[in-house]
Amino acid sequence: MTATEAPTTGHVGQVRLRKEDARLVTGRATWTDNITPAGCLYMMVVRSPMAHATVTGVDVSVATDAPGVVAAYTGADLADAWQTSLPSVWQVTPDVKEPPHYPLTQDKVRFVGDGVAVVLATSRQAAVDAAELVDVTYDPLPAVTDVAQALKDEVLVHDDEGTNRCYSYHWDSGNVDEVFEQADVVVERRLINQRLIPTAIEPRAVVAQPEPTGGYTVFSATQIPHILRIQLAIVCGVPEHQLRVVAPDVGGGFGSKLNIYAEEALALALAQKLGQPIKWTETRSEGYQATIHGRDHIQDLAIAATSDGRIVGFKADIKADLGAYLQLVTTGTPMLGAFMYPAIYKLEAHDLTITGVFTTKTPTDAYRGAGRPEATFAIERMVDELAAELGMDPMEVRRKSWIAHEEFPYDTITGLTYDSGNYEAATDKAMALFGYDELRREQQQRRDDGDTTQLGIGISTFTEMCGLAPSRALGSLNYRAGGWEHATIRMLPTGKIQVITGTSPHGQGHVTSWSQIAADALGLPYEDVEVLHGDTAISHKGMDTYGSRSLAIGGYAVHEAAQKVIAKAKRFAAHLLEASEDDIEFADGTFSVRGSPDAAKTIQDIALAVFAAHDYPEDMEPALDAEATIDPENFSFPHGTHLCAAEVDTETGRVTIRRYVAVDDVGKVINPQIVEGQVHGGIAQGVGQALYEEAVYDADGNLTTGSLLDYHVPSAADLPAFETDRTETPATSNPLGVKGVGEAGTIASTPAVVNAVVDALRPMGVTDVRMPTSPQHVWEAIEAAQGGAA
């Protein structure tokens, strides 16, 4: 017998086509709005058309009498339904203002879209018609639409708090004053990280139904069925064990479904009150008011460096517009970026102030990246500004200042420990793929020729912290929950398995990736693994999906549960093979006795034997099932180098991305196709911020970008093909060596694109273009730089 390679299952690291796809490409998915229980009532929320007003009267009597209407309620009618306010989970400072936030307001409306009443009817049509019949009278108050105005406290959003300042947070490390005084160069800028609307293509929806056996089931288009169950139980006073929450197929989230929303609480409370199923589906325009927004930071920044381009210090003074109320992680979203302003650079000093401010706008919360895109945009834009000030190539400045590969693990000035990374490798690969030098030559040629279309090159050498999160770290930050994740593996008698995960995928392909992990760990065929999720009756324990956490924690938990199954199976194998456990080897799904390869049992043999339970060790239960709860030891730090070549039509202000190269290092990968897809989609959303998207309010607090007509989500025709590649520096904080990937593209791409736009225009004297870098904003920047009046 010639030497042959050991048969290997080898699913991890390979492309496996998604198990999720079959129902999705054939139109057989179960979205929440597809669920219509018999006798279901349709709920419509009556929303404020005013940004800020005292509510002087709400009359639902006419609506109640309208055809098809079963009931209508005001905020006062439902006041007793709530055991507590809708939750805010992050007490970022001891004196943070946490004003009450109930599903329907009573005293005042605080943003356009604030709910004042609710109508229940037997059809969608009747509910919409009746909502127009609810008579609400308002006594208008001035809108508070920007943070500078809000901080004057002349008009208060929450009168009882006495201020619009929700919190102020300051943190510095190193000798800031000395470092900045002694620096050869200090560059200061004010950058605007504009307000965005996440726009998952599936609008939010919820169905709450009483169960005949008692208790309730809530179906919701949510990223967080487990957290939703706990919080709804608390808010509505339903015993947790009598509340089942199901996240059926969920059509994208990006943070917008990472929340406890008024409508979810209303649906459950009304199902309790009426004993009938309640259904609510938002329209897109309604969602633009009632679903969280993201970003909206004003950033006053300063970067300090030596004359040869070594970055030594960074200061950031952030004003975060939180909107009218605290949603689940509103306070904490800026904080998630707080650690990341120093990014990949070896700073001597760091100074950060965050001021969270209430305004009369839709609440902001975690939108893809949540704090880290803002921080990364700040530092990566400023590094380019510094390079321009020094007359250096922006990549050269980065190379002089970043953490070298051999310096990992690296303790940052903000107290993080970056476990692994190789910025040189990712950058070298990206530069080669991009053809950096050649594009620089073309850029110079166009500048020399005075071409009306200028070429700009933008760099983003980013890292981020994700994989939320070590529970103790969260505790130390007064985050009111942990960051662990759970997995259960059930061994079926025929050797097939069910993996039950606490993560809650909504496009990320966990069913496929978790199958790959479990199949490899247990030596099972990929097809023999079923992954269950998103239903608290099946997955009783989990912390859900957000913050690029699912693989690094949830995938790790699957791996760990599999190790426990193997450990048990090994003891059964030893018993069945009449060998010492120490002599049992496990490979590719087979337990064999060392030195006697014919004495072997497959894991399927053992599964069946354990099921029969005729012969097993005295000190064991006849079961192979195992569960694991993983609390990560560290955050996950993916990184990468993104390069953008953008053409800017200096006459019209139109920006066109000509090339976009991304080399990401997300550690080991489970499924390269899924990873690439995450990077593509992430980049697209970051490009959306850089070029197209902005939620705009007028002075009266009206959302003027109130639908997809005015809020410009890019289509295929508006984006280039992104070229992606990877380097692979394994994480050391988990046995799979994996890092998060969901947010990396979004975090990286925005500064790469804006740096390219500014780079194209720099010879004209432009030093910034406000996002989105729309034709209007580009034109204004050129006019201003050239002394014109735009």
């Binding site: 969608r124 018609d129 127009e132 329209t283 019209t652 005015d710 209007q776 034109w779």
Partner: protein, 283 residues
């Protein structure tokens, strides 16, 4: 997302449509492809009590040549059918080209020429094209038919010369005989969005000079406009006159300011886009 209730009347003929409009007066709206009206009704920005569906009136579909040597395009002809029509492509290719830039594929399959024009939206691409072509609207009312020149048809924002009881039956455009060139420079935020500014350059070339130039501008006021100062400056001149002439593209316009562009930026864009459109058209 759900329109307010309305009464639905399906017209089988032009006469039935006119009769229905006459009966219901200003409570009625005509429903063609629905791609201008239904979005407004879904947001309840429009709440007509009666919808008169003229989408099935075959007499208002298709393209033919008229006795006076023009093309008559039925107002219920879909954008896609206009683009694909052999007569349009042969005699008035500019209209096919502008129509191809309206909305997106699905909108073009359903939306109609007459529907888009009668809506009277200055941000819509087709009004400027019909205006530049010196097209006319054949409308039918209780007293029979009349023809309205495009320059008289667009009256104000979302307002046309159409009476409440009149229906646009067809749109007539000239056959472009001779050596015509054209380019529509549509400038929008994202691909499927409405034009921030659109500039249609239409040039008749004779022996290297511009015999006649026409410029239609989209979204430079409450109605589509012709850049007549540019047109006048070019007649009889060579293409090298375009750059200077285009500087007058925004003269006399009343460009709006909105989320996508200030009035000043629109005026600037009109000049740049007009120059580019004319240079391409003359080339």
């Amino acid at each position: 997302m759900i329109p307010a209730s309305f009464e639905y009347v399906r017209a089988g003929t032009i006469e039935e449509a006119v009769a229905a409009l006459r009966e219901h007066g200003d409570e009625a709206k005509l429903l063609a492809g629905g791609h201008s009206l239904l979005p407004l009704m879904k947001l309840r920005l429009a709440t007509p009590e009666v919808l008169v569906d003229i989408g099935r009136v075959d007499a208002m579909k298709g393209v033919c040549e008229t006795d006076d040597g023009r093309l008559a395009i039925g107002s219920m002809t879909t954008h896609q059918d206009v683009m694909d029509d052999p007569l349009v492509r042969e005699h008035c290719g500019v209209l096919a080209e502008v129509t191809a830039m309206v909305g997106d594929a699905q909108v073009r399959h359903r939306g109609t020429l007459g529907g888009a024009l009668a809506h009277g939206d200055a941000a819509s691409d087709l009004p400027a094209a019909i205006l530049a072509l010196d097209g006319t609207f054949t409308v039918e009312g209780p007293d029979g038919r009349r023809e309205i020149a495009a320059r008289d048809f667009f009256v104000d924002y979302l307002t046309t010369a159409l009476q409440d009881d009149e229906v646009v039956v067809e749109v007539r455009v000239p056959k472009l005989d001779g050596d015509w060139g054209w380019r529509y420079e549509k400038f929008s935020r994202v691909s499927q969005a409405w034009a921030i500014v659109g500039a249609l350059g239409l040039v008749k070339r004779t022996n290297g000079t511009i015999e006649e130039a026409r410029v239609g501008l989209t979204h430079m006021g409450a109605v589509p406009v012709r850049a007549s100062a540019v047109e006048d400056a070019l007649a009889g001149n060579g293409p090298d006159a375009i750059a200077d002439a285009a500087q007058h593209a925004a003269d006399g316009t009343d460009a709006p300011s909105d989320l996508n562009a200030t009035s000043a930026f629109r005026q600037h864009l009109a000049r740049v886009l007009t120059r580019r459109a004319l240079e391409a058209a003359a080339g």
